[in-house]
């Protein structure tokens, strides 16, 4: 075993050496070509799991653009991402929620950079029933356990044309703390007066519920449980082949979750000075009401100039060419205005 390990170590060291030599060679070429854009090094981001699928795809694509800058995104959760940011454990943090007191990052030490947004679907499992529409009040009543059966009058009122079964409702929710839960409950909290469970990353769900690990876990639970209803991000819901409900938006229209509807929602949202914005229940006839924004936190002052250059290079790409990948992985790109705003802020925060 000892021998084995040494052998493995040997090959690894050798290959690592070869890699780093190759990397150096590449770097030299770039310098001689006086291409200032090609930053090298390694930057690490930790945080939200909600945009992980997008960042993973973006990082892969970026590796082709600039193989010398190794970007790693570790989806440990927004909370951990923020506290890592405060402890200086990462170079940038991903977060679905805004920074609150006690989260870690100090006032003035961070800047929000919005990256993408995504709709949160309300998916259900009723064989032979398609096109369920749910009003905002009905949605709240279902998810706080006031409505426990699919043939309830409130659901029937939203769906005059549908034949609804007597199946019991099982709520599928996240068992782990999650920004998806946070945004979904924030929507119910803001949009309705009747929602009593509050808004947050962890909510006290009623007893007719089952928790799943991650969006995937929730999607699987919906798939496996007849009568289940739950909130899942569009990427996971599409991948798992779930059926979505149409949700009533601020203008009173029932809208299917879609990337266009999400971008419409972003257009209708008011952007604050610090680039934070709230796209939930935004106005607009086509706007899908349950839309989750996600941000990257960057430091206002980086101690290491290389890290600063790396973060800037990656984010600049993410806000330009990187936006085109978003739709492929079921995330909505930012509207052009917000894109430009984010780029300007990035350039101000990290000057060349």
């Amino acid at each position: 075993m000892k021998l084995n390990r040494r052998a493995v170590f040997g090959t690894v060291t050798a290959s690592a050496l070869a890699l780093s030599l190759a990397a150096c060679g590449g770097g030299d070429d770039d310098d001689s070509g006086s291409d200032g854009d090609m930053v090298s090094g390694e930057i690490i981001g930790t945080g939200a799991s909600f945009p992980d699928a997008y960042y993973a795809a973006a990082i892969e694509a970026y590796a082709d653009v600039n193989p010398d800058l190794i970007v790693t995104y570790d989806a440990v959760g927004s909370g951990t991402g923020k506290s890592d940011f405060g402890e200086g454990l990462n170079d940038f943090a991903g977060t679905d929620s805004l920074v609150a007191e006690g989260d870690g990052p100090e006032e003035g030490a961070y800047q929000y950079i919005p990256t993408v947004a995504a709709p949160i679907t309300v998916s259900y499992n009723l064989p032979d029933v398609e096109g369920v529409q749910l009003g905002q009040e009905t949605l709240a009543a279902i998810f706080q356990g006031d409505i426990t059966s699919w043939d309830d009058d409130a659901i029937a009122a939203d769906n005059p044309d549908l034949e609804l079964p007597t199946t019991d409702i099982t709520i599928a929710h996240r068992s782990d703390g999650s920004g998806t839960t946070g945004n979904f409950t924030l929507f119910l909290d803001e949009a309705t007066d009747t929602w009593t469970l509050g808004a947050g990353d962890t909510v006290e769900w009623p007893s007719n519920s089952v928790g799943g690990d991650g969006n995937t876990g929730v999607a699987q639970n919906i798939q496996n449980t007849e009568g289940a209803i739950g909130y899942v991000d569009l990427a996971d819901a599409t991948e798992t082949g779930l059926t979505f409900a149409s949700i009533e938006n601020a203008d009173g229209n029932f809208v299917q979750p879609s990337l266009e509807g999400t971008t419409a929602g972003l257009d209708g949202a008011v952007v604050n000075d610090d680039l934070s914005y709230n796209p939930l229940n935004a106005s607009g006839p086509e706007a899908y009401p349950i839309t989750a924004p996600t941000y990257i936190l960057i430091q206002t002052e980086y101690e290491d100039a290389d890290k600063a250059a790396g973060v800037k290079a990656f984010l600049t790409w993410l806000l330009t060419d990187g936006q085109e990948i978003a739709a492929d992985v079921h995330f909505a790109a930012l509207p052009e205005g917000l894109q430009q705003q984010a780029l300007d802020t990035l350039n101000e925060t990290i000057p060349d």
């Binding site: 075993m1 690894v12 699928a53 995104y73 454990l89 995937t216």
Partner: protein, 298 residues
């Protein structure tokens, strides 16, 4: 009744057994055998699932290539995670097994029933019950935050904390089984206690200690929660445990299994298979070593 062929336990032919006793005996034997099947079933299920689903992910590239950054794309390998698993678990074993074995020597050869030894014994039992994530949090607070980065060594320290009590308690059990006659014989030959302990007692218990330590290593290699908290993530080879974020197979299983994409789930099963293979090879090799060094086989 029972088909006792050689009849060595005297007069157990069963002819003069009452029906009730014979039935009880047979039922008990059956029940005992059933227990083995109950334990074998989950192993079979896991083996079948992992091999059938993980097998298709296997290729030479899977063992050597860097980890795919994107969950959706096929290809890429688990090379860095395999190296990370070996190095981090190996380092954890390097830290915890010597300390654990020496600690057990203290308990069984020196401390015995002294209050301190009893206390240490109780506390190591308590320590086996500390959830792995709490060990991770402890290292996070005491090491990661202090040095300002997640790295492989932090993972090794967390795993070492997990392994330590298991190694101590299992080693002590094994040392206890070494007959006092051996110690007395060694002492009678004029050997000092430390020589007796290292030269006679420890070798006599070596195979048992190895298998106990293996339980600990196996548990550590599959730990996920402390790795996520302390080690971070990387896609590239990181042979230096002190050089920034690293990764292990267990963490990759968890990371990929929680994605809905076929490519990533296949990677998760592949990583599971690779992890089991590593632990399996390790087990067999250590067993052979142990049996060669066991004093009773000489």
């Amino acid at each position: 009744m029972t088909t006792l062929t050689n009849g060595t336990p005297p007069d157990l032919t069963g002819k003069n057994l009452s029906f009730k006793r014979a039935a009880a005996n047979r039922a008990a034997t059956l029940g005992i055998a059933l227990c083995v099947l109950i334990a074998a079933f989950p192993l079979g299920l896991v083996a079948y699932q992992v091999i059938s689903r993980g097998g298709s992910a296997m290729s030479l590239g899977f063992f050597t290539e860097e980890i795919a950054r994107n969950y959706r794309t096929e290809g890429g390998g688990m090379g860095p995670a395999i190296v990370g698993t070996l190095l981090i678990t190996g380092m954890a074993a390097l830290i915890s097994i010597p300390i654990g074995v020496f600690g057990a020597i203290y308990l069984n050869e020196y401390g015995k029933t002294s209050p301190l030894a009893k206390f240490i014994r109780t506390m190591s039992d308590v320590m086996t019950g500390v959830p792995s994530i709490v060990m991770g949090l402890f290292i996070y607070v005491a090491y990661v935050v202090v040095i300002g980065e997640r790295n492989g060594l932090a993972g090794a320290l967390a795993l070492a904390c997990l392994m330590l009590p298991i190694v101590i308690r299992s080693t002590e059990e094994m040392l206890r089984l070494v007959p006092d006659e051996l110690r007395q014989a060694s002492a009678a030959m004029g050997a000092r206690k430390w020589r007796t302990t290292l030269g006679v007692v420890l070798p006599a218990a070596s195979s048992g200690i190895t298998s106990g330590s293996l339980l600990a290593v196996a548990r550590a290699a599959g730990e996920t929660a402390p790795i996520i908290v302390t080690v971070g993530l990387t896609y590239i080879y990181k042979p230096d445990l002190f050089d920034g974020a690293n990764t292990t197979l267990a963490a990759q299983i968890y990371r990929n299994a929680t994605q809905p994409f076929d490519a990533s789930q296949e990677r998760a099963w592949g990583a599971a298979m690779a992890l089991i293979m590593i632990v399996f090879v390790f087990t067999i090799v250590s067993r052979i070593i142990a049996s060669r060094f066991a004093i009773d086989k000489r």
